[in-house]
């Protein structure tokens, strides 16, 4: 008889490391202390572009006590290795963006260190810089490559140019989104120990241990076993700790190597906001052919993002934005032309949603304009164009799952009481001159896992090991950053092995100890890594069954006994599982056609707003988030992901404005970069529909990024319904709205 028949997947089991989090016992990188540890600081470029003339160490400071590192101290390649390796770890002769790191300092006294940081004077001869996408495209200066273009994509389905002449309507529109700071509450930080004998070891706040590992290998020219990366507890990432930690790890390690001491390098908030990555600003132009019944005949989309000064991840962000640009609609003729361009802003980088929030914002705003042009309600226009099973996306991917967007939309409109409210608000607005109410929605999709052939190239590996007591340890480089990795992977393993949740634990992500299960990004941890955990777990069981130590139906005691015997005989009981693409998944990197993602989550979000025409402030009064995400592994954690993402996206739509001044962020403080507080948010009401995905663990798909996509267009659609004015840029601050309304 099996002891453990209760389902573990699908239960709101408590967060694995939750106890340490509520008691304050959890150790984040800044909480770690090493004997004889020094502190590190970064001296940065004050201007956006120029030639470094000299570096002076001024003031009455004991400079001989400091460890000072410049580009000349780099033994390997001076780059922060990622995709193109074009970003230096320390600027050498030229700087290409403000806040670019030039000199590193370390000292045991962090107060003196701060004084010293201010006393380093970098003299730079300014060069003309680019700050807009138009200037980059017009090549007013060439600042990167031959043409300021990091990457271009073309997605083509049918032929849009054949359609324009026969269309009943052609609708055009232009849409813009701003930069957004990830604003994890724990700023970036690393501690390094490094010397010729032991190599380099770093502990830090990070999402992707093997990205950091790869970067350190190149920077120091060391063999893989001489570099070790360990994730400390991480206080939020949202993409902001995907690629930038490689840079900080490099800096801490260079200092530690030269100082011969462990070095702790922690950013304060101002430095973190000014110097590290943000969401790519974007501009999207739509030209849409539609017939009088509201059928989309052709969608011509031009999508441009500002990548900042170095290539970093812009090509991949662009790819996801491009693929999501045509949304969950069936249209026979689609053309998406996209470009990531270089400017002299600090490089923009990964941020939850990864290009999709930008292009989906444009599309979902634009479709309301199309609907208005045709004379249809926005929901009716979408119903006439939704993708169905058997139809194809813009990349020609055939939808093979049961897909009922109509049903999803109907339910979301019911849950939000959309129709009744629309009527009530019309009456209200007719009599109220200053408080205008509106309701709007967006329908969208988000692909889980790496794009196209990405997962094939990653070849992720997951390990799982049993101990003699029968407890099980999951070995992955996938990190817990608040999203619930520890908990859901434990649930998946416990379910697969029919063990108690308490018997499962996760090894600390440490490249000396865990295989490369790929980066913790792209909503892939649950769906891709979770599936590998499930199969590695089954492999463990299979080993015991094949050894004759276990039958298929076993009790906890029998399991423990089997593990004990096996380990006594063989020394260890481990199983590994490596990614294999599901059958029928094909992608062509040349034509950008094929199955862009193994699975998509589908959603309809509805926002209700009040716009105050005296202050021009918009308040979101109610928010309904309905999504189909395959099987929900842990309802409380899943809802928490959606609520947090919606909150972040409400900030993106209405509050979070990066103020640029010649390429420098001027409001790099929490005082003047405004994220939502507990008083600013509406009730966020989350609903799931479950349609299990065959190749996900217990049927789960990815959800982490999805909630970032829908809120901004839903809110701007609601604002349009409240005031009858079309605004197509975010963040929509009161001052912007005032300008638009008084124009």
């Amino acid at each position: 008889m099996s002891t453990n028949q209760t389902q573990i997947v699908g239960q709101s089991i408590q967060r694995k490391e939750g106890r340490d989090k509520v008691t304050g016992a959890m150790r984040y990188v800044d909480d770690l202390l090493f004997p004889e540890m020094w502190f590190g600081a970064t001296v940065r470029s004050p201007i956006a572009r120029g030639r470094i003339r000299s570096i002076e160490f001024t003031g009455n400071l004991p400079w001989h006590e400091f460890t000072i590192v410049t580009a000349k101290d780099i033994s390997g390649q001076n780059c922060t290795a990622l995709i193109l390796d074009d970003q230096p770890c320390l600027a050498d002769k030229f700087v290409n963006h403000a806040e670019e790191p030039v000199v590193l300092l370390a000292h045991p006294d962090k107060y003196l260190l701060e004084e010293a940081r201010r006393a380093v004077k970098i003299d730079i001869e300014p060069l003309p810089a680019l700050f807009t996408m138009d200037d980059a495209l017009n090549q007013t200066e060439i600042i990167w490559g031959d043409d300021n273009v990091f990457k271009t994509f073309l997605v083509e389905k049918g032929n849009v140019d054949d359609v324009w002449a026969s269309a009943d309507f052609i609708v055009e529109g232009e849409y813009e989104t701003g930069a957004q700071e990830q604003l994890y509450i724990e700023p970036n930080g690393m501690i390094a120990m490094a010397n010729a004998d032991d190599g380099v070891t770093v502990w830090g706040s990070l999402q992707c241990p093997y990205y950091v590992h790869k970067a350190l290998l190149k920077l120091f020219g060391l063999p893989p076993d001489k570099v070790r990366v360990i994730q400390a507890a991480t206080g939020g990432g949202f993409g902001g700790k995907e690629e930038y930690p490689s840079m900080i790890a490099g800096h801490a390690a260079l200092l530690a190597w030269k100082a011969g001491k462990p070095v702790k390098l922690i950013y304060d908030r101002a430095e973190d906001m000014a110097a590290t990555t943000k969401r790519h600003p974007s501009r999207t132009r739509h030209r849409t052919a539609v017939n009088k019944d509201g059928k989309l005949l052709a969608m011509d989309i031009e999508f441009v993002i500002d990548g900042g000064a170095y290539a970093t991840l812009s090509s991949v962000v662009l790819s996801r934005g491009t693929i999501h640009a045509a949304g969950p609609y069936a249209c026979d003729n689609v053309r998406v032309r996209s470009k990531a361009v270089a400017t002299n802003h600090p490089p923009h980088g990964a941020f939850r949603g990864f290009g999709a929030p930008q292009s989906i914002f444009a599309l979902e705003r634009h479709l309301n304009k199309v609907a208005a042009t045709v004379g249809l309600r926005p929901e009716e226009l979408r119903r006439r164009n939704f993708l169905h099973e058997g139809q194809t996306t813009a990349t020609g991917q055939v939808i093979r799952e049961k897909l009922d967007l109509d049903g999803l939309l109907t339910r979301a409109l019911e849950l939000s009481d959309y129709h009744a409210k629309k009527e009530r608000f019309a009456e209200h607005n007719a009599t109220n001159a200053t408080q205008k109410k509106g309701i709007g929605f967006a329908t969208f999709l988000h692909g889980a896992g790496f794009t196209g052939s990405g997962e094939r190239f990653l070849e992720s590996v997951v390990g799982i090991e049993a101990t003699a007591t029968g407890n099980v340890c999951i070995l992955v480089a996938s990190t817990e950053i608040g999203q619930g990795t520890n908990t859901i992977l434990s649930q998946i393993a416990a379910e697969a092995l029919r063990l108690d949740y308490e018997m499962i634990e996760l090894a600390q992500p440490d490249t000396a100890n865990v295989p490369n299960s790929g980066p913790t990004v792209a909503s892939r941890t649950c769906m891709i890594v979770g599936k590998l955990v499930e199969s590695a777990a089954l492999g463990l069981k299979q080993t015991l069954v094949q050894s004759g130590l276990l039958t298929d139906d076993y009790s906890l005691d029998e399991w423990r006994q089997a593990c004990a015997i096996y380990i006594a005989e063989h020394g260890a009981l481990k199983s590994f599982s490596k990614y294999e693409a599901p059958p029928n998944i094909f992608w062509n990197d040349e034509t950008y056609q094929g199955d862009a993602y193994g699975a998509y989550a589908w959603a309809v979000y509805v926002a209700e707003v009040t716009v105050n025409l005296v202050t021009y402030e918009t308040r979101v009064d109610d928010f309904v988030a309905l999504q189909e995400v395959g099987k929900v592994i842990n309802p409380v954690l899943a809802a928490g992901q959606i609520e947090g993402g919606v909150a972040q996206a409400i900030g993106y739509a209405l509050y979070e404005n990066v103020v640029w001044d010649n390429g420098t962020m001027r409001n790099n403080q929490m005082t003047n970069y405004i994220m939502p507080t507990s008083e600013d948010l509406p009730p966020i009401r989350v609903f799931f529909e479950e349609n299990p995905y065959t190749y996900g663990p217990s049927g789960a798909k990815g959800i982490g990024e999805l909630p970032m996509d829908g809120p901004a267009p839903a809110i701007l659609n609601a604002i349009e319904s409240a005031i009858g004015v079309r605004v197509n840029c975010i963040p929509l601050l009161p001052e912007t709205l005032m300008k638009v309304m008084n124009a």
Binding site: Y28, Q182, I185, E186, G235, A639, E643, G644, I684
Partner: protein
């Protein structure tokens, strides 16, 4: 002129301490580095995020804004002083049950803010909870699960 360290006598988590520190040192650093109470975090260093919250004579304060000279004779409670041994405080337990902690970096401050709120107002409405926690930023949860945790904790 050199500034001298001073001695500050205060009680932290029910234990008397005599602390040597510069008068303008931040309470945050003295507690984190001097006493190794690392539960409170530095999220901003300018009084905006509440990650550094502690209870000072029962009042919620941002320890990044408090010069240590001000705590002479004071009674300080940090997150480490909230659970009674293995026994979690009702608010901590409720955060666990309701998913009020995700990455956990805001959690120590958030738990203290909730406790301080419930002490002043044992039966808060959701609106009271929203106002009471407005000085503590959370980027992960969207606050909904935190509200649920606080409302449930006060029913205990």
């Amino acid at each position: 002129m050199t500034i001298e360290k001073i001695t500050i006598d205060c009680t932290v988590n029910h234990t008397a301490h005599s602390i040597r520190a510069y008068p303008m040192a931040r309470l945050l650093d003295v507690l984190r580095e001097g006493l190794r109470l690392t539960g409170m975090k530095e999220g901003c260093g300018e009084g905006e995020c509440g990650a550094c919250s502690v209870l000072l004579n029962g009042e919620l304060v941002n320890s990044c804004l408090v010069p240590v000279a001000q705590v002479s004779g004071a009674n300080i409670t940090t997150i480490e002083g909230i659970a009674a041994g293995d026994q979690l405080h009702a608010v901590q337990q409720s955060f666990l049950t309701h998913g009020g902690a995700q990455c956990g970096i805001c959690t120590p401050g958030m738990v203290l803010a909730a406790i301080s709120l419930l002490e002043r107002n044992p039966n808060p409405t959701e609106a009271d909870v929203r106002t009471g926690l407005a000085g503590n930023l959370c980027r992960c949860t969207g606050y909904m699960k935190i509200f649920a945790a606080v409302v449930e904790a006060c029913q205990k």
